[in-house]
């Protein structure tokens, strides 16, 4: 493999990793900070993509689809937290798994009724539709590069909010010790609602941003859900930085696994996860017990 090809594959790996981070970041927020296992994360990813398709079809604008899809998902997240999820904080994980599994079925059925079961595609914004010639035969779509930049911006925003703002401080305190935070009169529960809704909105955002390169189809969230959990567990539960590291590792392992060890590509990332967990049982940057 010459240097140029290696560079392109590296780019593929990093780009895939950044996309994984975007989707997994919402899961790590909800899972790590609220302690809620949300199996419906992949379903919201799918719903985001379908919303993008639907809104873009009627408005013709990817940007309206982006804002609208994220907005609708955020509101849905608020509603769900208010009605269902808040009753499950601190409860057995099994109850959360049951609830979120039920949500998968409900969302899938809503998707079936509202959008049908056909495969769709979403056009990227016009000025991102070109591609850059990399080698004599291979070119790279500008939109994929734009996704990289976009994911980095989202990552920076998440880090900023969690590390530098008062809300972030409350979130971190709550994740560290919920009871003590409550005892000190810090409005952790109010913040919870937003954390859950942001998690859902991030899943949908992932689906929307990826829709133009991934196409929109019924089972698209299933595989993403598994990958997101691998990323979260690998990086360390509740650590956003860990999710970033985990996502990049998965992206690169998957890409180079497919190139160098095609026969093992179906489990290369799980092998990576097993090895990392042997070395660091709490994940790369995780502090708490899994």
């Amino acid at each position: 493999m010459d240097l140029l090809t290696f560079g392109v594959q590296l780019l593929n790996g990093v780009q895939y990793g950044l996309v994984l981070f975007l989707v997994a970041s919402g899961l790590t927020l909800v899972f790590g900070i609220l302690g809620v296992i949300n199996l419906a994360h992949g379903a919201f990813y799918m719903l985001g993509a379908y919303l993008a398709y639907w809104i873009a079809k009627y408005t013709g604008s990817f940007w309206i689809a982006l804002v609208g899809g994220v907005g609708i998902s955020f509101l849905a997240g608020m509603l769900l937290e208010n009605i269902f999820v808040r009753r499950l904080y601190g409860r057995d994980h099994l109850a959360q798994v049951l609830l979120s599994f039920g949500l998968i079925l409900v969302i899938d059925e809503i998707r079936q009724i509202a959008f049908g079961k056909d495969v769709h595609s979403v056009a990227p914004p016009a000025f991102l539709q070109g591609s850059i010639q990399l080698t004599d035969v291979l070119s790279y779509p500008v939109y994929r590069l734009a996704i990289c930049v976009f994911c980095l911006i989202v990552a920076a925003a998440i880090f900023y909010v969690i590390r530098q703002t008062r809300i972030g401080m409350i979130v971190r305190a709550g994740a560290e010790n919920r009871q003590m935070t409550r005892a000190l009169g810090i409005p952790f529960d109010k913040v919870n609602r937003y954390v859950f809704a942001v998690g859902i909105a991030l899943a949908a955002l992932g689906g929307i941003v990826i829709a133009p390169i991934s196409t929109v189809f019924p089972g698209m969230g299933d595989h993403m859900l598994i990958l997101s959990f691998v990323v979260v567990v690998l990086g360390g539960i509740g650590s956003v930085a860990g999710a970033a590291v985990g996502a990049l590792m998965i992206g690169l392992t998957d890409t180079f696994g497919k190139v160098f060890f095609p026969t093992f590509s179906s489990f290369s990332i799980y092998l990576l996860m097993a090895l990392v967990l042997l070395w660091r049982p709490n994940g790369i940057l995780g502090q708490r017990e899994v």
Binding site: M1, T5, V8, Q9, N12, G13, Q15, Y16, Q112, K117, D118, V119, H120, S121, S131, Q133, T135, D136, V137, L138, S139, Y140, P141, Y143, R144, I213, S214, T215, V216, F217, P218, G219, M220, H223, D254, T255, F256, K258, V259, P262, S265, S266
Partner: protein
Amino acid sequence: MTDDTLKSAFTRRTLLSGAATVGAAGLVSSFPRPAIAQGAPYKVGLMLPYTGTFAKLGQFIDQGMRLYVEQKGGKLGGRNVTFVQIDDESKPETATDNMNRLVGREKVDVVVGTVHSGVAMAMVKVARDTNTMLIIPNAGANDATGPQCAPNIFRTSFSNWQPCFPMGKVMADAGHKNVVTITWRYTAGQEMVGAFKEGFTAAGGKVVEELALPFPEVEFQALITRIATLKPDAVFSFFAGGGAVKFVKDYAAAGLNKTIPLYGAGFLTDGTLEAQGAAADGIKTTLHYADDLDNPANRAFLAAFKQKTNQDGDIYAVQGYDAGALLDIGLGGVSGDAAARDKMIAAMAAAKIDSPRGPMSFNKAHNPVQNIYLREVRNGKNAYVSVAQANVDDPARGCRMTA
């Protein structure tokens, strides 16, 4: 979901509106006809995916079959027909139970199903164990008319081997010498690529690398970069559904479609063209059907299907339609007396059907012998180019009935 059997009087009108009830997911519903002079109606069990990824395919097969029965005045071989339907959800794990329910509780005379190969193989096993008539209207697993073949099992679709083998010669004739293949690493993918390789090698070509990724992953970028590095003369691929759409779009987005032509099994561009858009232009595929196949049977079929469902018929609808035609011939051969099983099977095995796909007969393993067409994507249609190979007969390797 309930197990309750929904009963209602069966009239011509309910048959015509049957398409509307097709969506009744997971519900076993039967429509018994009032008994008439010739005795109980012939009971057809439709075991198809009415929900899930393959729901549209299941619906089209169902509607195609019902269209045929309607055209024959609600009869097959002169005998009245009643349908029972069950949703297999494309889940192999519940396939045996579902099949047993049709055979045991519903006591159907024939089962027609299904789309998913894993489900179909479970159905084949039950059909062999209970000696139930089974017609497979889509699933292409080679084994169903290979090692697992049986006198009571027919197929009105294709074996995975069939549409891909002729592509070998087509691509060799187009001057391609070094070809890369790409598919999902699962049975259908491997059988299709295997058949292509067989045909291509026999025609003097060379497969330089066989790329595969786990089913149903859709992250193709690494392998597309690999193709760009290998610079083959052409690429042969098999994907279907959402994966097919994404692969075709990624391939075009990487600019490879300009220098390395993309070929594939017909499923790459069937039912997916709307989502693939311009990215699919110029892709050549082989299949046992083309959207604009110009023969009287196809023109009549497409018009009738459009009138019944207000949708454009496709290969899946044709396969369901032909399942009806095959049963019609079988029952016709015994004057509606399904108890004369051996005679009925002999009539079906000897059937010559003037199908919308062209002439169709059956080999000793009960797999169709049919033309495979070369199609090219033009203006969002799989346009007919030529007959890639006429009367393609699956080798039915491992089938004892061919001896």
